[in-house]
């Protein structure tokens, strides 16, 4: 089946099977920043924005995304680069496997809620698991990023 996706602002057409998931379509077409962690929406590493909302691409059929806008971290490169400086200064980027998905989720959170409380941040990002940092460094980095950016 032929689908048309707008990925990071570019219109792309792909032939996909009806059982193909968005994660596999994206990786197949060289969007390697989208990563598989768990297969069943529990880890957050495969997060992309679908019309601006964070979704787990491992569980969205590509055909369901037909005619929609997809954003990967490359689509928010400037914000990701800025956020990475805060992660760097807080020692928050360890293995980094989840980092692009966190950048996307932080971006989406701030669009929805420009002034999140500490609790809001933790709740919005709860689906983005991290096994390396203990979360504390990421939390400090995200807070300082928000203070400076907004």
């Amino acid at each position: 089946m032929r689908v048309s996706l707008t990925i990071n602002g570019d219109v792309k057409a792909f032939d996909v099977s009806i059982e193909e998931y968005l994660l596999d379509t994206l990786r197949k077409h060289n969007y390697k920043s989208v990563r598989r962690g768990c297969d069943n929406t529990t880890c957050g590493a495969c997060t992309v924005l679908l019309d601006g909302k964070p979704v787990p691409s491992c569980s969205i059929l590509t055909v369901r995304a037909d005619q929609h806008e997809i954003t990967t971290v490359e689509g928010i490169a400037k914000e990701a680069e800025r956020l990475s400086e805060y992660f760097g200064h807080e020692g928050a980027d360890q293995c980094g496997y989840c980092n692009p998905s966190i950048a996307l989720t932080v971006h989406a959170m701030l669009l929805e809620n420009p002034k999140p409380t500490d609790e809001d941040i933790k709740k919005y990002l709860v689906g983005n698991l991290c096994r390396c940092t203990g979360y504390e460094g990421q939390f400090r980095a995200i807070k300082k990023y928000m203070e400076d950016e907004l």
């Binding site: 598989r36 990475s84 496997y97 980092n99 460094g137």
Partner: protein
Amino acid sequence: MNVVNQSHPSIDGKGIMMGKKAYTDDFAEPDSLIVKVLRSPHPYARIVSIDTSKANALTGVELVLTHKDFERIPFTRAGQGYPEPSPHDKFVFDEYVRYVGDEVCAVAAQSETIANQALELIEVEYEVLEPVLDFETAIDHEVVIHPEPEIHEMFPIGFKPKRNIAAQYSMEVGNVEEVLKTCDVVISDTFYTQAQAHVMLEPHTVNARIDYQNRLVLYSATQTHVHVRRIISQALKYPLSKIRVIKPRVGGGFGGKQAIHGEIIVSKVTLLTGKPSKMVYTRKEVFESSYSRHPMRFKMKLGAMKDGTLKAIDCQVLSDTGAYGEHALTVFMVAGSKVLPLYNKVDAVKFYGDVVYTNHTPAGAFRGYGAIQGNYALESAVDMLCDELKMDPILFRQKNMMLEGETSPIFEIMGEGTEGTAMIMESCKLDYCVKRGLELIDWKNKYPRVPLNKHIVKGVGMAIAMQGSGIPYIDMGAATIKLNDDGFYNLMIGATDIGQGSDTILAQIAAEELGAKLDQIIVYSSDSDLTPFDTGAYASSTTYVSGNAVLNAAKQMKELLIEEAQRALDTEVSFDGVTFKGQNGKEISLKELSNRLYYNEDQKQLTSTASYVGHKSPPPFMAGFVEVDVDIETGEFDIIDYVSVVDCGVTINPKLAQGQVEGGIVQGIGMAVYEDVKISKTGKMITNDLLNYRIPSRLEINRLTTEFAKSYETSGPFGAKSVGEIGIDTPPAAIANAIYNATGVRIKSLPITPEKILKGMKERGR
């Protein structure tokens, strides 16, 4: 210091955040064959027959591999130095399957869909055997898990497969039995620790191709790329010189990627077909078919005098290595060797027991590596002893624990699989760690408990811990520094960055010694063809062992540079990292010198290579303090704060060190409270996805308070010791002690759940 002891951002953080290709699967060839493994549905069975004809006939299936395609060579997947202290008890595929998820055979196909269809078409006839699922009954069980005659140990580790024993060990200092008779108070109790899953975010991943030089080239998400190369060569009898293993960025390991996973199978597929192939574990496979933490039973006896002098410790351990013996002996030994020296003033100490085979998912290396299990048992028992003695547990520890300048006979007796190495604690600020932790948690106003309202009680608890810094006389790390034109350097290291930031801190060490800026050091790590040897990322070795190698290579490079500058200026020179200043007033910059050496005069390539193997393993120490609020009606509790005060020597990068400690603390909290690999009565893993196996999320972590003691280890690079594992050790005991202080309920089996607390309170009420 200009670069070391500074919190420089990770050298690769920006590229990683921005989604650059970095991880193993990002480098798979687009046309890779997809390799999938058919896995056993039975905990123990003999394969009577495998009919692969239907799978082979399926369009798009390239080949099916069974045990008949491999020479029968026993090996260990453990990923340790050679000869390994783990038994050679595994075949690539065998006629027996020994746990649910064990490898039956593999398919390679043109797509994942076809590979999965092919797996369903393979017809296997099993003779189902009775499994051994209770590790406490495994020894001399009528069912023998490893009856095959070819398996063996590489040197004596107490390997007795006919008795289901993978390894055995015992040691005694003094006479524990006699000393216990003289003690005023003796306590004795049994503790259980559970299996824990690593849950690194990146699943086990590997891909292979034959390159233009006809070499087998693998990208692997591994912690031990050189061991991986050696083990592939051994298991396939394929020349070591024709294999290249590259470790790209790794998405977390925690010990889970020390061992071999799909590397041998994809190698075989690519060698047979000539085509690139790849294998990515599903999360279910990561849970069921990789490794988890060795569950253990500890029978502890502690004896002390009324004045609080600890006299004797008797520690008998039973460890469950599951179906294969990866790390069986060494994890077991670390449960003693990196725990018992904490109380070094005892008259007698005994550590002994068995590591048994069961039909469980194999156990393997996991951050803490036995020390977290042993720490839970010992530090729980110490608090119980203090209760009997009616002595403050802080005072008791301060009286009995290891101090700077002291030693323990255990260091000399117990190594990892072999004898150990005597050493004096040249850096041990445990006393400061305890004192500072008391202040940070506000112990005096909270110990043992503060009722907050009718049903919530606040409690505090603590534990002390130690780990090591590499394996002396065994673990070797090496580094090469190369000078480039324009005056920047390449640092080539075998050391394996799996997300802990070793590329960054090793670059900091090189930059500090060379007087360079961090961005003048371009790091390449862990490519078996291009970088020098390193045993890999395990045993808390990188900062100390690989760091010393880097420091020595940088010292040598500095000498070479000064020699060349003196030749250029014809005088004695001093070097500040940028400019060489001659005594005759002449100067030459590093940039000018390096260009001269490349293009103009005295042309040569400057490189320096140094190796380091430790002569001791200076332990990092820490004190962990926890504050919990317990609901005495439901048994539920919140962890309000976790205070860590750590002595890891000088922190090369304080923020990255903090990240290591805090990541360890939260993984330790997971083990203490949330995580439990559960196996059904029929031997199937129940917790084989992230819905059923819960790791701590952001919401469970309220506050982590982390500080470092001012400490200097003279044998470490710029005073550093390791910090990768120490963080994980204290949470189980500290939380168990806090729950006891809040409720009077002593939890003797992990994890600490509301159900167990409630049950304990009901029993106390009776």
